[in-house]
């Protein structure tokens, strides 16, 4: 599901409300028939959220960042697996330098490693393709496909045209209202 609309239409706000960070003025958010505010921690188990601010610490290294994220989300960490994945995403040799020395695209990749390392069913991604090069975009779309094939759902905002790759794509267009 792709949310689109002009700048300021409220795409990010909508995503943040659905992820449970902000509260809607009216209405409620339900996941699998349950109001998420009732039992947020259970909902969080099925949720993977990557926003504009990706949650990657600038002082820590790429490896430490991934490890920390895994621990905080209750996943067991496997050192080899993390290094392999970082390598696949083109971060060979950069795993152990502080993230602040990496380029914007590389930093984004450090955040996106999570997409390969989770069991969440619902992914909420705010502009995941920002700052990525062509190869990065292709990798990401590949991972989207395998997530969907496993019965997962993705809710994202992007200005990329995804209609050709994903047949099951639904679009929600938000309009700008003053």
């Amino acid at each position: 599901m792709q949310v689109e609309g002009p700048n300021g239409a409220g795409k990010t706000s909508l995503l943040r409300i659905i992820a449970g960070f902000a509260r809607a003025d009216e209405g409620q958010i339900c996941f699998e028939g349950q109001d998420i505010s009732r039992d947020y921690d259970t909902f969080a188990e099925s949720l993977l959220f990557i926003g504009h601010k990706t949650g990657v610490n600038q002082q820590l290294t790429a490896y430490e960042n991934v490890l920390y994220w895994l621990q905080v989300h209750g996943y067991g960490a496997d050192e080899e697996e993390i290094y392999t994945l970082l390598g696949q995403l083109g971060l060979v040799g950069l795993e152990d330098v502080p993230v602040r020395t990496l380029s914007a695209g590389q930093q984004r990749r450090v955040a996106l490693v999570r997409l390969w390392l989770n069991k969440a069913r619902l992914w909420i991604l705010d502009e995941p393709f920002t700052a990525l090069d062509k190869k990065g975009v292709a990798l990401l779309q590949q991972q989207f496909e395998s997530h969907l094939a496993n019965g997962g759902a993705i809710l994202l905002t992007t200005h990329q045209d995804l209609t050709t790759q994903f047949s099951s794509l639904k679009t929600l267009a938000l309009e700008y209202r003053h």
Binding site: R16, A19, G20, F21, A22, R23, D41, T42, A44, E45, L47, L48, F49, G51, H52, K53, T54, G55, V56, N57, Q58, Q59, L60, E64, Y68, W69, Q71, V72, H73, G74, Y75, G76, E81, L117, N118, K119
Partner: protein, 228 residues
């Protein structure tokens, strides 16, 4: 990719991250301590160096300095996590947020409170405190500084989203510090008169127990407000 829920692992992960970060930028540990030391050394210069006078005022001076230097580190407690989105990830984690918060406060205390406790003998020496009062100073700092971290973290969480939250935070937090100040200094005073000061310590301990249970709840709801 196996899922293993363990509150202890989460606590350690969050705690370790903050302490690691602090050790990478040593200024974060050293600066509040230096500030503490400088504030304390200002007092003899301002009120005169007579040992008897200093000895009488030592408890108050040490504790006021401790309050102020705790405030220094508080501003940074959640600021980086807020700026880089880690707080959102913390909310979106399946663990109760209070637990991550508890770990962060514990880390803050390790970085700012614990060094003050360890330095206490030096301050006592500078301020001409006698040996009975030294024990009380160390004990009150040991029980009192975690309290300062807990109460202060509430203020930090409320103001983290604001551009210039630092001064506002002091305004919110300092009035709440008053009971800690009163009981801690009174314990030291009592000790220097060679009277038992267990009562004051017990009250401080009780306040700490209440803070450990309730403060994380307040802090996490404040953080949710700041993030939204």
């Amino acid at each position: 990719m196996k899922v293993e829920h363990s509150y202890w692992h989460l606590f350690v992960a969050v705690y370790r991250k903050d302490v690691t970060l602090a050790f990478r930028q040593r200024a974060e540990i050293v600066n509040p301590l230096l500030f503490f030391l400088i504030v304390i050394s200002l007092f003899p210069l301002a009120i005169g160096p007579e040992p008897a006078l200093l000895g009488r005022m030592a408890a108050g001076i040490i504790w006021v300095a401790a309050l102020l230097s705790t405030m220094l580190g508080l501003d940074k407690l959640f600021r980086d996590d807020y700026a880089d989105g880690s707080l959102e990830q913390m909310i979106a984690s399946p663990y109760p947020m209070s637990l991550s918060v508890l770990a962060k406060v514990a880390a803050h205390w390790t970085i700012t409170g614990l060094p003050m406790v360890l330095m206490a003998p030096l301050f006592a020496l500078l301020m001409n405190l006698d040996s009975q009062a030294l024990g009380a100073t160390i004990l009150t700092l040991l029980i009192g500084t975690p309290l300062l971290s807990f109460i202060g973290a509430i203020g930090a969480a409320l103001t983290v989203g604001l551009q210039k939250g630092g001064i506002l935070m002091s305004l919110l937090v300092l009035p709440l510090y008053i009971p800690v100040l009163i009981f801690a200094t009174s314990a030291i005073d009592t000790a220097s008169m060679s009277v038992a000061y267990g009562g004051q310590l017990a009250i401080l301990g009780a306040m700490l127990a209440v803070a450990i249970v309730t403060a994380p709840i307040a802090i996490s709801s404040a953080l949710r407000v700041s993030v939204s």
